[in-house]
Structures are given as C-alpha cells and as structure tokens.
C-alpha cells in the first residue's frame, strides 16, 4: 500500500515518470540511501480525549555521518515507530528521531544498532549552490517499493518560498523539473557524487515543479543542533520601506549619498523591539551597506537584508548603523526566535491539551484546534490573529471548543466556539490556571460566571449543580477531566 507522506496540502499528487537507469553502474552510493517506513499516531484535536488514529507512510533518508540519517521532518512527524531499510536488503532497523526541525522540514535519525552500516559511505554536501540550468538527480523510494528510483532534471529557479510543513516558514529552495513524488521526501539530490539538496515538496498547480531544501538550509540545521538542541530560526522582526523620494529623504534628514531603508514596523516582543524604532533609517547591517531597496551584497550576490538573519542562531548579534532624527547611531540586536509565532505553526506529535468541566471542553487556541473545530467566531479569530502583537503573547488563548449535549448544557449551547476571557472576574491566561480557578471558585462561590469575547452575557453555572453534573458526565463519557501538556 502506498501512502502519501505529505500531511498537509497533498503536494505530491501527480503521475510519476521515474527513470530507472542502470543501477549497478550509475550508483556507487546506493547503500547510503535508505527507505524509511513510519507508523504514525495522529491526535484528533476536535476530540482531544480520544486515542490517536494510527496510520503510516514511506519516505527516504540518507547517511550523512556516523549513525546520522537525514530526512524530512514531515516524513517522521507524529511517528510511533520508524523502520529503516537499505536498497535491495530485506532487513529493517528500528530508528528514532535524534533532532527534528519542523520550521525547515528536516530531521536527523539514528538506528539502535549501527554495525551493519559501519562500512557504508557517508554522503557529502556540495559547498556551493548549484547554478541555474545545471542537472540534478533525485533518488528515493517514490510510491514505495524496495528498490531506489532515480529521476533527473535541471535547477529551474533558486528562490525563497513557503515550507508548507509548519505552515508559516519561508526559506531558500531549489526548484527542479525532476519528477518528485510521495516517497521521494527526504531523499537526496545529487550533482556528481555530492548532495545539493533534499527533496521535500512540490506544486500541484504546476507541472514539473519539485522543491529541494538546499545545502545552506541543511548546514544551518546541522550547525544549530551541534549544542545538543535545535533552537530554530531567529527573526529580526522588522519591516521596511524604501525611501526613494527626494522629498522624503529630506524630511527624514537623509543625505543623498546615504543609502538604506526606513523601518516601517518593529515586531513587538521581537529581537529588535526596544532597540530599533519605526522611522529609523538603516544604513548598514553587520558592516555591509544596505541599498535603497533593502538589498545587501553577500558573497557577491545581492540578497534581501533579512537573509543575514536566516543564517544566524539564537544569541547571535547583528550590528546596525542607522540614522535616527538626523544622528548616526550604532545599535546591536541579539537575535532570538519570535516565540509568539508558535501559535500559528502546525503542531506535530503532541497530545492535545484540554479541560473538561460539566460538559464544557476548553482547549488552548492553536493552529490545530482552530482547524479541527473550524472555529469561526470573529472575536476569537481576530484575537488569535492579533495575539502575536498583543501585550502578552505568551499567555494562552482558551476557547470553549465543545459542549456535551446534556440537560445541564441545553441553555448554553450558543457559547460553543467562543474565546474565554475570564471566570468570576479572574482573567484566564492558561488552561491549567483555568483548571485551578474553576476548582477554587466552585468551592467558594455559589456561581461560576464565564465571560466570553464578543458575548454580551456571561455563561453562568450554579457551582453545586455544576460539580454534580461534572462527575456524572465524566462517568458517563468515561474520560479524564483534563490533559495539560508542558
């Protein structure tokens, strides 16, 4: 059975034209490329107390160091069991995830007993990006099978694009016209004997557009995990306007000879918050001059200034030279992840948190709970979209996602899908705190008043009745009253 590996957007759909070249002579590295069979467990965020559904899929990986198999994060996301097998070999090896980076769709696996692979050659990366129109070979296990398949194409484009696995990240890609299909995911793309990228996604709306994760992105991942943890991409957290009009330059006191860009937005809680300001005119980043359109020269190539942050790590510094109110200023920004962004990323491998009380189920608002319940209340959606920029983006947004049909809940059904603001005037900032507040308030107050965003009336429960109904419903449904993840 062949199962598509892409969890989202089903990007690899299409007919394959795999090119079977004569394997024995063409490939000297066939043993280094492995098939990855994954059994997955997927939690249903619309029924958070339910056991996960079991499923599975096939992908490709390759050896890049001693007991280091590189593959895509999406191949091994939500995995319950991972088995690795080599081309034309029957034996399967149990593997586990050593590091996983959902933001750049890469993962590093290791197997329990590496002995059989000790003599297998390790694949190496080509240091420079391939040129446009140069040929690449993509190797993998598309649509299953025990033997590797090779497809060939040229590099059509090198660009920044969305990495669909997390839903919100964009990085550099190589676009190739080789046929890439489900099962190819995680497989290497070669120029000569060197790896130039990892196959990971494609376009359904266009023919022959496969995407590869290029070496700079892979190298960044491998460097990031050197300290034993994957920290992820850092964000500068600014937007800019180009200041090309002479009158505007005069207004912002910029000389004609000075090139640079005007900061139009500084993300609250971002790396640059409190250091750079809107209206600052950035002239240099890490000593490199910024052009009037926001480009910098990096290794002889013009790239957007953001790309400098792409290659940095948590805790790294970026130095800026800028003009603020006519004065030349130097500033240093310590880079960090924009943590609030996690709210908008797809969550993998995590059991959904919930709190069940008297027929009401509360869940933290995140990409998974939002889509699973198809939440559509305007107040809730607006609060969700704005949370990153709100005063406390670390707080959880709590939604009332489910109301059990019962005589005790019959008059409150219209609160379903609403955003909880407070309980008995206590502001709710996390699911576990909500649990505490309900527990305390139901003992000391006769009533519980839940206030929801966009609702004129509170939801009111009689504490005594609610506690009784709560116990009765728990027994009836045979579920745990809550699950809080860390």
């Amino acid at each position: 059975m062949i199962i598509y590996l892409i969890q989202r957007s089903a990007l690899f759909i299409g007919f394959i034209v795999t090119v079977f070249s004569s394997l024995t002579q063409a490939i000297s590295f066939e043993k280094s490329i492995v098939k990855i069979e994954v059994s997955t467990e997927n939690y249903d965020y619309s029924l958070p107390w339910a056991a996960p559904r079991f499923s599975g899929g096939i992908g490709t990986g390759f050896l890049i160091g001693k007991n280091q198999f590189l593959t895509n994060a999406h191949v091994v996301s939500d995995a319950r069991q991972i088995l690795i097998s080599a081309h034309n070999v029957d034996k399967k090896y149990t593997a586990k995830i050593k590091y996983i980076a959902h933001d750049c769709d890469l993962a590093l696996l290791e197997i329990e007993d590496f002995t059989d692979f000790e003599d297998v050659p390790v694949l190496t990366f080509k240091e420079v990006l391939p040129t446009l129109d140069s040929t690449v070979k993509v190797i993998g296990f598309p649509m299953g099978g025990n033997r590797i398949s090779i497809t060939k194409g040229i590099v059509s484009r090198i660009d920044f694009t969305n990495y669909v696995h997390s839903g919100v990240d964009s990085h550099l890609i190589l676009q190739v016209d080789a046929a890439i299909n489900p099962g190819n995911s995680g497989g290497p793309a070669f120029q000569g004997e060197e790896v130039v990228g990892v196959a990971f996604q494609g376009l359904t709306s266009a023919d022959n557009t496969g995407y590869l994760i290029p070496v700079p992105v892979i190298k960044r991942f491998l460097t990031d995990i050197e300290d034993g943890t994957y920290d992820g991409y850092v964000e500068l957290g600014i937007s800019y306007w180009s200041l090309e009009q002479a009158k505007l330059r005069e207004y912002y006191q910029i000389k004609d000879s000075q090139s640079g860009v005007l900061i139009s937005q500084v993300m609250p809680h971002g790396s640059a918050d409190g250091i750079l300001k809107t209206g600052d005119f950035l002239t240099k980043i890490d000593g490199i001059s910024i052009s009037n359109t926001g480009f910098i020269q990096l290794k002889g190539n013009p790239v957007p200034l953001y790309e400098l942050a792409e290659r940095k790590f948590t805790g790294d510094k970026l130095k800026f030279e800028l003009i603020r109110e006519g004065k030349l200023i130097h500033a240093s920004v310590t880079l960090d992840r924009l943590k609030g962004m996690d709210l908008y990323k797809v969550i993998y491998g995590e059991r959904p948190a919930y709190l069940f009380f008297c027929g009401l189920a509360f869940q933290p608002l995140n990409q998974n709970s939002l889509t699973a319940h198809k939440l559509s209340d305007p107040s809730l959606l607006q609060a969700y979209n704005h949370h990153l920029r709100s005063e406390n983006p670390e707080t959880q947004l709590i939604a009332l996602t489910h109301i059990e049909s019962d005589l005790s809940t019959t008059w409150i059904q219209d609160f379903k899908g609403a955003l909880l603001l407070n309980v008995n005037d206590i502001e709710i900032v996390s699911l576990s705190q909500l649990g505490q507040v309900i527990e305390e308030q139901s003992k000391i107050s006769s009533h519980l008043h839940f206030e929801f965003s966009g609702f004129d009336m509170p939801l009111i429960l009689d504490s005594k009745d609610a506690l009784q109904n709560h116990e009765r419903l728990l027994k009836k449904l045979n579920i745990a009253p809550f699950y809080f993840n860390s």
Binding site: W241, S242, K247, S264, P378, Q382, W411, D456, M457, L461
Partner: protein, 516 residues
C-alpha cells in the same frame, strides 16, 4: 430545456431572494388560474391599475466609486393608488438612473419620477414625468383590510402580451424582515404560492378582494414561499407622504437575549410568572439609554402586550410575532414606547423615545441609497469613507473575520454609536495607485486616517480641505498624514508639488480627483 432559460431567480445583498425577469418567456398557463370572481370585463378594467416598471440601476461600486457602474435593467410592477400615484418597492428605484413606466399592454411608455421613497419599508411612489398630461389610463386601487391566517390573496403578474396572471397565495404569517438598507427590520407577510416565471416579476402586487394588501418583494422557488411588504407599512408610508413626515423607522439601540435559561432567570431575580427579554447591550446615547434602561434589565411588557421568553407577543391580527413589530406599530403616531420590566427583581417602567436620531449618527455608512460613496484622490493615494458595502465588497461576506484589527475594534465597539460626536465618519486610505509619490509605501492600504498636518479628520470633507492647503514654510512642502496603525510607522508624508503633478496625469487619464 430549463437550463437554456436565463437565470431568473437571484439573491440580492439583503439576503432576500428577489425575483428578476430578464426577458419575457413563453410560459404555459396551466399552472395559473384566472381569478374566478372577476369577470373578464371587470378584469380588463382592473388590470389598468397595474403599471409595468422598468428601471435602470447604476449601483455605485463601493470599493471603486471612480469606476462607472454597469447599468442593469430590472423589471417590476407598480400599483396605481387612489391618489393617482404609482406604488412600487424601494428596491425598484434605489440607485436608478432612469425609470420607465408603461401600460399593462406595453403600448404607452413614459418616463417616471420618484415622488417618495422609504428604504426601511421598501416602498416608493412614482408618477409620470408628464404629470396630469400622462396618457396612461389608470384606475386607482384602495387599500385592503388586514389578512388573517390561512386567508388567501392573489399575486398579480403581467405577461409580455399584456395578459394578467393571478396566482393564489395562502397567508402563513406576519414576520419581521431585514430592511434593504441593512438597518433594522420591518413587518412583512409570508405567503405560500407557486409562482411562475414571467416578465416584470421583480416586485408584484398582492391583491385581496380587489384591494391592495402588499407588494411582493421576494420569492424562494425551492420552498414556494414569498414575502411581501405589509399593508401596515404601506399605510404608514402613505400617511407619512400625505403629512410630509420623515420616512423610515426608529432605532432603539439595544441587543437582547431570551429569558429561557432558568440560570439567567434566577440570576436576574425575574419573578417566576414573568417572561420577557434581557437587555444585553445598550448603544451609548441611544433612545434605550435615554429612557434609563440598563444592561441586564428584563423587558416583560411593551405597550399593552406581554413579551414572551423568546421575544414574541400575541398580535391582535396575526400569529405570534417578534416584539420589534411594536416599534413600527407605534411610530410615528406615538412619541414614545412604553416598556415595563424588572431590574434585580424590582419592577421598572420606561418611556422609550421613538425617533430616527441614532441612524443619523452612524459612523459606518450602511448603504449607498441616498448618497454616493465619496472619494478623494491625492497623488495616487485614494481616500474613502468606511461603509458596510465597502467592507463586504473588499473582505467578503465574513468581513468581520477578515478585516484589519483596527476596523474590527472600531466596528465591534462603535458599530452604531456616536461615542465621539466630533467624529462623523471614518476616513480610510482605501487604495494606493503606484506613482512617484506613493513609491516606497507598502502595506498602508486600508489604514484609518486620523490626522492631517496635526488636524483631526472627521470626514472626507475635512481631508479634502487639509490636502488642498498650500504648503507652509515649516512643512518642507509636505503633508503629514497620521494613520491608526499599531506597532507600525503611523505617518506618511506626501510631497505636495509631486502630488499635484500626479493629480494632473491622473486627471488626463480620465480619473476625476473627487466626486463631491
């Protein structure tokens, strides 16, 4: 065969399904009965009371008012009243550039003018431009008595060759229907009827015993259900016309909820034998607030009627109907509406003023019937006033989900209110056309303009006068616009000299710089 006919049943903005007829059809008469009680000769005479109306609609484009709207024709019917004027629906005449009336046999055609129009009641009065010289022979129809449940009426249609068609419609109930202007609701009738597609069916007369009962304004073919403007609305409209009064209905300014939940009833200390509705939100300065009503008051009686837990009352003529019907029953005869209820278990009484003041103070323009969407172009920046048609055109039906957070805040808190009496309208930067003056400014489209050169902007006229000012010595030849944007640069500066040059080129390309 069916699919080759032009589309006859379409939905309109106000969620009512309106019948539109694109061209006359050769229809079979088998579904339609001739009214048995009217003899042929009498029917001929009677049919002279019906006038064909063809109107050319040029509805302004809310998101791009500088573009010329495509004219669209719609066909409907009017009824000649005893006062000689022709009664039709307001949607037949809203945003029209031309209205033509013709005799039922289509032989005489004359241009018509609108004499009176009430968008809240969806009614309009027309007369021939020729006045008393009109060649249209007509007989006036008087108004019917109210209809009762299971009573029948006839819906009249005109076929292309001049024949009249009548369809028997069974009265089901009176109900509150949304007004076409997206403000409040009004009394309407619901009938069960199996209508056939025919010409001039955009609005049709509903006749009972040869007298006018209503004007049918929507039809759902799948449910064979149609809605008409009520007799009461017609009476009020004519009364207002004859007395030179103000058209339209009052807005009270409240949100409410039912009292079904025992928990709410206990919490509000509502006596066990009382029903009614809970006031859950009050618009500041609204008639409800002026009357002294507070949030969480329960209204149990309005005038002499008991309001039930779901908000309905027993109407003397009709099956149970929603309490808002009492507003238009009292208006404009009464200056206030008497309400009784409970606050924390204690009885309370109020006189709620009935007026249309609240409607005048709406920051968000609800429709473009009486005014055009105003715009002002300056150097490639296009400014407009925020309106409901703009929001639904740009951000879709679920616009409240999709609008920028600044709009959401505004709409959520001040949808109908006049919290800040200074601020009349919300001026936005609706569009940025690429030009030397707009170069470099990205992501500013949709921003709310709060100040220009330090002066507060309350409507587009303020904006125009500020941007028309000559540069001062301190201004560096620039206008400074302050925008309502969080965590983002909140001002843009525009080079005056450059903007004037851009304006000239835009004008040369046929874009008028403003429309007011």
């Amino acid at each position: 065969m069916r699919s080759s006919f032009p589309l006859l049943f379409i939905s309109c903005l106000s969620c009512l399904l309106l019948i539109i007829s694109c061209k006359p059809l050769e229809s079979s008469n088998s579904q339609t009965s001739t009214h048995p009680e009217i003899a042929e000769e009498a029917k001929d005479h009677f049919s002279q009371s019906f006038i064909r109306i063809q109107s050319t609609i040029k509805a302004p484009l809310a998101h791009a008012p500088w573009q010329l709207p495509k004219p669209q024709n719609q066909y409907g019917m009017g009824v000649v009243l005893e006062n000689g004027y022709i009664l039709t629906s307001a949607s037949m005449v809203a945003n029209t550039s031309y209205i033509e009336i013709s005799s039922s046999d289509d032989l005489i055609k004359e241009q018509a003018v609108v004499v009176a129009c009430d968008y809240d009641s969806n009614l309009a009065l027309l007369q021939s431009q020729l006045g008393t010289d009109s060649q249209l022979k007509s007989t006036g129809i008087s108004l019917s008595q109210p209809i009762t449940k299971d009573d029948t009426a006839q819906i009249w249609q005109l076929e292309s060759q001049g024949e009249t068609l009548t369809t028997t419609a069974t009265f089901q109930k009176a109900l509150m229907i949304s007004t076409i202007g997206e403000v409040g609701s009004t009394l309407g009738y619901q009938f069960k009827a199996s209508l056939q597609r025919s010409s001039n069916s955009f609005c049709l007369p509903v006749i009972k015993d040869e007298k006018l009962l209503g004007i049918m304004v929507s039809y759902r073919a799948d449910e064979q259900r149609c809605t008409s403007v009520s007799l009461e609305s017609i009476q009020r409209f004519i009364h207002t016309f004859e007395n030179n009064g103000n058209y339209g209905l009052p807005l009270l300014g409240l949100n409410f909820k039912n009292t079904l939940s025992p928990t709410y009833r206990d919490w509000l200390k509502l006596p066990h034998d009382e029903q009614g509705i809970i006031v859950t939100k009050i618009i500041p300065n609204s008639p409800i607030e002026q009357a002294g009503i507070q949030k969480y008051d329960v209204i149990t009686h309005i005038e002499e009627y008991d309001i039930d837990s779901k908000g309905y009352f027993n109407h003397p003529n009709y099956p149970k109907i929603f309490w808002t019907a009492l507003i238009e029953q009292a208006y404009p005869k009464q200056a206030t509406l008497k309400m009784k209820g409970y606050r924390k278990g204690e009885p309370i009484e109020f006189d709620v003023p009935l007026n249309q003041e609240l409607k005048k103070h709406q920051k968000l323009i609800r429709n473009y019937f009486d005014e055009d969407p105003l715009y002002f172009v300056y150097g490639g920046f296009i400014f407009q006033e925020l309106s409901l048609p703009y929001l639904s055109t740009v951000y879709g039906g679920k616009w409240l989900q999709n609008v920028p957070y600044s709009y959401f805040n505004l709409v959520n808190n001040e949808l109908l209110s006049d919290l800040d009496p200074e601020s009349k309208r919300v001026v936005i930067l609706s569009r940025v056309i690429p030009s030397p003056i707009t170069r470099g400014y990205t992501g500013v489209e949709g921003s709310i303009i709060t100040h220009i050169n330090g002066e507060k902007i309350n409507d587009i006229h303020d904006l125009k006068s500020q941007l028309s000012l000559a540069p001062t010595a301190q201004s560096l030849g620039l206008h400074t616009l302050k925008l309502d944007r969080e965590h983002q640069i909140n001002k843009i500066v525009i080079d005056i000299e450059g903007a004037q040059k851009v304006n000239q080129t835009l004008q040369q390309r046929g874009l008028p710089l403003f429309n007011f």
